[in-house]
Each structure stands twice: as C-alpha cells, then as structure tokens.
C-alpha cells in the first residue's frame, strides 16, 4: 500500500511507480517516477509529513477543468425507477506536504493516459475529463492506482423513459475514500429528457476506508458543494 502518511525517509514501489524521500547530501529529497516521467523536490521539514492519497482525476496532464464525464453502456430507465450501478473511474495520485499550520500539494501523477471532451455546445458547454466504463451490478475488480470504483445511484424522477449513457460530475464535490481499492459514491437524478442533477455522496463504500485529502482543500480554493446540473443531455 502506497497511500498513507510518511515522516522523514521512505520508499514505496508498485509496478513502474516509485515514490521515495531520501536524504541526499544531508537534504531530504522527494523523488517520484511514474510512466517514464520523474519529479524531484528538496523538502525542508521540521515536523511536517508527506501524505499520499488518491485525488480528483482532473489534473493531468494539466489542470484545465473541474469536470469529469463518465461514459458508460446505455441504460433505459423507467419513470420513477432507481438503480444503483458500479462504474470504474480514473485515479490520480496526489502527494501533499502537511504541517500543523498548513497543507500544500507537492505532486500529482497517474498511470495511463488522459482524454478530454466537450460536454454541451462549444459556446456554452464545459470541457471535461472523459472516461469510459462498463456498467457493473456489483463492485468490479480494479487495477489499483489506475482505476477506482464509483457507486452510482440513478433515479429517473421524470415522467418519461430515458436513455442514460453518461454522467458529468463537478470534481470539486468529489469525495474519495481508499482501502482495498479507491472508491467514490455519487447520485444522479434525472429531471427531464435532457436535464439531470449529479452530486457526490460523502460516505465510504466499505467500512474501514480512509477519506482522501482533496486537492481543493489543499489548494485552499473555497467551493460550495452544490452538485452539477447536466443541461445538455445524458
């Protein structure tokens, strides 16, 4: 397990990922290697700790959006019906430095590639991180450090049958937990033929899971958890 808190020197390796902090010529140096890319910083710590945990997957290769679009196999949903399904979502790993007074983002990395898309029209739409997943009735096995499991509860509150094949989330609302795998819980309420509300639920998928530190908390960006209103279909 790579996620957790570290003080002083440490070394964690998993597949092609290496994260370590070691003393080089008397200076504590943080070093990360992942997918052929490396990152290095000298750390000056008194009582500070290094924290590694999964973070909202919208930061790589560059932070350009707050939205995550999950595309999945189309589902026809009866008016008034509710269904809970499981999806796989991409995972990015955040490294933080924390002291008693402050917390700061040190590094964000991920395995695999990223892809972005436009949700809505070029004029009024939003850029979103794109990810395609199959729909699972139960928690699927996932590749740790690459994917997490999202429990998605879809409720059709409209008076029509609807076909749902994607959900857009605002990542500032995302609450991630980790244990044997990375997990998030979300809900989607369909309000009309092309209108739906999405939001994350702040609850672990399994007992004993640890809550991740969010990037928005570490970056001290004030956000209001209000979910996201999908206005351009689903």
């Amino acid at each position: 397990m790579m996620f957790g808190r570290y003080r002083g020197s440490f070394r964690r390796e998993w597949g092609d990922i290496l994260v370590e902090a070691e003393s080089v010529d008397g200076l504590l140096t943080y070093r990360r290697r992942c997918g052929g890319q490396t990152f290095e910083r000298i750390l000056v710590l008194n009582t500070g700790e290094v924290i590694i945990n999964p973070v909202e997957p919208v930061n790589l290769p560059r932070d350009i959006t707050d939205f995550l679009l999950m595309e999945f196999s189309p589902m026809m949903i009866e008016p008034g019906a509710t269904q809970t399904v499981y999806l796989k979502f991409p995972v990015e790993i955040g490294v933080f430095v924390e002291s008693a007074k402050d917390i700061e983002v040190l590094d964000v990395f991920a395995r695999g590639s990223q892809k972005y898309t436009l949700y809505g029209s070029p004029t009024n739409g939003v850029i979103a991180r794109w990810y395609r997943s199959a729909v699972y009735p139960e928690i699927p096995p996932v590749e740790f450090f690459c994917e997490g499991v999202m429990e998605l509860s879809i409720h059709n509150a409209s008076h029509e049958w609807v076909e749902v094949s994607c959900a857009v989330f605002e990542s500032t609302d995302m609450k991630l937990y980790y244990g044997d795998f990375v997990a998030a819980s979300a809900k989607m309420k369909i309000l009309g033929p092309s209108l739906a509300e999405t939001d994350f639920i702040d609850a672990p998928l399994q007992t004993g899971m640890v809550k991740s530190i969010e990037l928005y908390t570490a970056r001290k960006i004030p956000v209001i958890n209000r979910g996201y209103l999908m206005e351009w279909g689903f």
Binding site: L60, P61, R62, I64, T65, S113, Q114, K115, Y116, T117, L118, Y119, G120, P122, T123, N124, G125, V126, I127, W130
Partner: protein, 283 residues
Amino acid sequence: MAFNVTEVLEIPIGVGDITVERLLYFAVILTVGVIIAKVVSTNVRRILAERLPKNERELLTKLVYYGIIVWAFVVALPQLNFDLSGLLVAGGIVGLVIGFASQSVVSNLISGLFLMFEHPIRIGDNINVADVSGSVEDIRVLSTVIKTYDGVYVRIPNEKVFTSNITNYVHNAARRFEYQIGIRYQDDANAAIRIAKEVIETHPFALKSPAPSVFVDNFGDNSVNLTAYIWAPARNWWDVRTDLLWKIKLALEENGIEMPFPQRTVWFADGLEVKERSGEKKE
C-alpha cells in the same frame, strides 16, 4: 428659571439671521449625507469586489462617496441662507466647460463600465481588437491594457474597444483548427486517414467530442490533400496544434506514407537525347 428649547433654537448665532435651529438642520443633513455615503460606498465596494481590480474599485467608491457628500452639502446650504442661484449659474458655466473638455474621458468611462458589465473580454483572454492581438492584461475604467504576443504593452481607450469588433479567441469552451496534409498519389489515403486519427486520439486535449474529422479534401497538383479538423479546449488549442502536426507526419512516414515534393512530369516530343560534349573523354 425654566429652560425653553424653542427659545434656544431661535437664538441667532451672529452670522446674518442664521439661528441655532438652522445650524442644527445643516449639521443633521450633512451627517445623514455622510452616513448614506458610507453605506452606499461600502455596498458599491462589495458589489464591485469581483468585477473590478482594487485600484479601479477604490476610485469608483471614492467618486460615489464624495458625490453623495457634495449632494448633501448642496441640499444643506439653504439652511445657512446661502443663495444657490449664483452658484448654479457659475456651476453651469463651469460644468459646460468641463463637459466639453472631458467629453472623451466620460465616453471612455461609460464604455469602460459597459465593458465591465457586459464582459465581452476578461483578464487573461486572447483577443483581437482594433487590429491589436494579444492577451488582456487589465480592464481599467478608462482604458484596456493588452500585452501583444511579442510582449509589447498596448493601452487602448475603452471607447475604441467598445466600438470596435472584438474577436475573443477563448470566449467559448472549445475551438476547432485544421491541418492540410498532402500524401503521394500512390499512397493509401484510407491508411493515412486511419493513422492520422490514431495519432489525434492519443492526444489528451484533442477532444473526444466533437470528434476529429480527417478526410480526402482535394486532388492537388503534386499530392492528394487530406484535411483534418480537430477540436481542442479554447485555452489550449495552440499547444495541441503545434504538438500534433509533427507527430502525424512522423507516424505517416513510419508507415511508408510520405509527403511529396512539388514535381512535374515533362514529355519531350522527340524523346530525350543525351549529347556528348566535345571536350569530354571517351572511356
């Protein structure tokens, strides 16, 4: 001896026939004016907090604050038996002169306010306005500052910005760009299209939707010309554009598809005959 308030209020203060009562009215009107000015300016500052930079915000707030105080002072002046008619005539003439002199300033100010509330441009946007291209550095009350792509500071009066055609390259979430890719006539155009699409697919910021489009556009003199339409986030499109073209070229060449040089096929009516020059030795 009983204390009579009415009598006290009617005591002249010794300047003309101004009484204590009139002096008190004057003070009360001024005090109310100052309180209103403080409340209004505080709210103006709060409302403009996210719309204007600090220096512009403070300037407008002060203008509102002192404007209300001047208004309260003018309202209070008659309590001191001050004849405003002379002031109004003088003020009218001065106002006329100032009005003519500050015509362009007021015009820029009003345009600046419209720009701030209409939001056709924001700080950091890449725009073209009045034949100046660059990124918006600041939107001030009287002028807009643009840093051209060469790093040059350009100040444009707001009136000119407001009345010119503004092209904002990053106003929309996404924008499209295109490539022209020429391949040889003997190359497989379908394979070239497939390879180009595969390369585009690997780029994170070449958007999944709207999907990229690659197709045979026309038959050129020297090449079959493919056109690729690619959508990218408006703020990153230039990076994507500069990054992808070379990758497509390399991928095509790796698969034996080349971009031809200009060429001409020349036909000789009597065939091509190589003549031996007299000075050359025979082998």
